[in-house]
Symmetry: C2
Subunit: 362 residues, 2 copies
């Protein structure tokens, strides 16, 4: 394998993704929605959720785990709770179909929620909370994941890496957004350290024997740990409940069992809360409300060394529309082959592909 | 000072609290609501929010920082958002006045929120989420606090210890509840280590110079750190926004500035989200939904060393109705004096009182 990289413009990223998915039998609406999501990830240099994921989308359909053509179905569960059934389709379309009704409902009711069911989720969470914040809302999103993480004090895999995302609108710039796993570190970081022979930090993982380890191989065979000990474990537990039983969807371990062919693309639930901030005020304007948030942000940035969440993504976002993004040659070649309609998808394991991606990104 | 302790029944805790507050000029409804909150804390052996707090309630009124008689005012901000203006009264009454309408609204709408404004908050957050979960709801609560915590990467105090609480209903036992500060450790733990001459853990605090310290005195003069690094800092930031600007209330640093006499009882906002889980289902029963959550809890408890949040509180709750609770003699004497209507409140500093409490609790 070669580690050189190809520079692509964001337009090329989008067009490559879209036409590739169409060539692979995805419907127009799914292909376009996924292409937009993948392009947004590349734009923000979130490579793990960018072009790197395309073979996973294709493979999930190929093995019959997911659908690239099914139309999601939106319904009302209660005056302030909407549901979209993705029917084993991918999240980006389900999200795009939900935004307008969810925003309208939050503005009407003050607070509203969206239950996304049966969605194959391969992206970040920040696109959805960011979109809602760009519409003036405060948003929280919760999703479970493949089971890799032990509960605090425990010994083996149970929770997903379970991210949550939060977004707050800002008047003159991108929303304040965080999107963070409840695991102590990204799985990819362990893989990179395995490749580079670097030991893990304390409190990142357990070996298959349930004992703490700083050995990357042991950690990959064992379980990751939640961030921040028992407190992070509580957050992971909350996310399991909100994205699972609350909305009649899977727990992480159930999504893992459902992913029989090991696509790395769990079919699961997501829960989103959208709040219209001005409907939470008894007086005062939206402008004053946003200015109040800005005073906090200013105080954070006055402290040397502190930064706002997503700062790195936003720096990338200013750069990539002009500069484009670097794509590992091997990934570029795989995409080219898939775009030609090749049916012989040689999807490497998640671990291997991931390694490759990181190799190029450095 | 003597470190011996007096055993009190929960009935005595309640009656002592209530009659003391009445003797100190609190109105009946505030005195009763605070007594219930304090008694629940003692029942669960959360001593920091039990009788220990009574002198703080009294002092906050005495210095004109809070009211023990004002009636909170409930209103609708939108179809799914309620507001209660505590008018610088204490939280327990504002909460009790809000429960019924909030529960009804959540059941009607599927999801509802409560903005509590201008409340002097001296308690835990679990009583409110637990109460909502006992009514069958899923609940989240967020409150800011006195500014003691630096943002991740930063150098000085800005955030409060900002707890959040989450509760999930269970059919045959107490709700699953967590209530956790977003600081790495409780301030009281630092005080105890100062007294005992024990160094702090890494990543708990910064000294006044903004550099990491394991020295308790330096930490108390400097800033605490969020739990889990940047991720815990994001949680703290989210809580600042939800309990502050979102509902037109104070940020932690503003609540600190408002507390001019250093009562240790900040006047601030709280934000609660209540969700009716069965209104988030497209099919299936509440029983099946709760059973689904139980399957996760079973898997957690199957792992040796793992436990559910609040387990320690619930163990205490089984014990204290029979056994009563131990109250430090000096605190007992202070309460007795206050109960007789003494106006010469000799409130020690928070630090000193806290020390005393911990000394007796060991």
């Amino acid at each position: 394998m070669t580690n050189d990289a190809v520079r692509m413009s964001l337009e090329e990223v989008h067009e490559t993704s879209r036409s590739l998915l169409l060539a692979q039998g995805f419907g127009e609406v799914h292909a376009s929605a996924i292409a937009r999501t993948v392009t947004a990830a590349e734009r923000d240099e979130c490579r793990h959720h960018g072009l790197f994921r395309i073979p996973f989308y294709v493979n999930a359909v190929k093995v019959g785990h997911a659908s690239g053509v099914v139309e999601p179905e939106l319904s009302d569960l209660s005056p302030s709770v909407l549901r979209i059934n993705a029917k084993r389709g991918f999240s980006p379309l389900a999200l795009e179909r939900s935004y307008e009704p969810l925003i309208a409902r939050a503005k009407q009711q003050g607070i509203a929620a969206l239950a996304i069911n049966n969605a194959v989720h391969l992206g970040s969470l920040w696109p959805e909370t960011q979109h809602l914040a760009e519409a003036g809302l405060v948003a929280l999103a919760f999703v479970s994941a493949a089971p890799y993480v032990a509960p605090a004090g425990g010994t083996s895999r149970l929770f997903g890496t379970n991210p949550m995302s939060f977004a707050w609108p800002r008047a003159d710039t991108f929303p304040l957004v965080f999107d963070q796993a409840s695991s102590a570190c990204a799985r990819g970081e362990i893989q990179v350290r395995l490749r580079d022979g670097v030991p893990l930090e304390q409190n990142w993982a357990l070996g298959p024997d349930g004992k703490p380890t700083t050995d990357a191989k042991q950690a990959l065979d064992g379980a990751q740990l939640p961030f921040g000990g028992a407190k992070g474990s509580s957050i992971a537990l909350m996310i399991e409940l909100l994205a699972g039983p609350l909305i009649g969807d899977t727990l992480s371990y159930e999504a893992g069992e459902d992913d029989k062919t090991g696509t790395g693309a769990p079919c699961k639930g997501e829960f989103i809360i959208a709040i219209d901030p001005v409907r939470c005020l008894s007086g005062g304007s939206r402008e004053a409300q946003l200015a109040h948030g800005e005073r906090l942000f200013e105080r954070i940035l006055q402290q040397e060394g502190a930064r706002l969440p997503s700062d790195r993504r936003y720096q990338a976002r200013k750069r990539t529309p002009q500069d484009g993004v670097l794509v590992p040659r091997s990934l570029y070649d795989t995409l080219k082959e898939l775009r030609s309609g090749a049916s012989s998808l040689r999807l490497q394991t998640y671990e291997a592909d991931h390694n490759l991606l990181e190799g190029a990104a450095r």
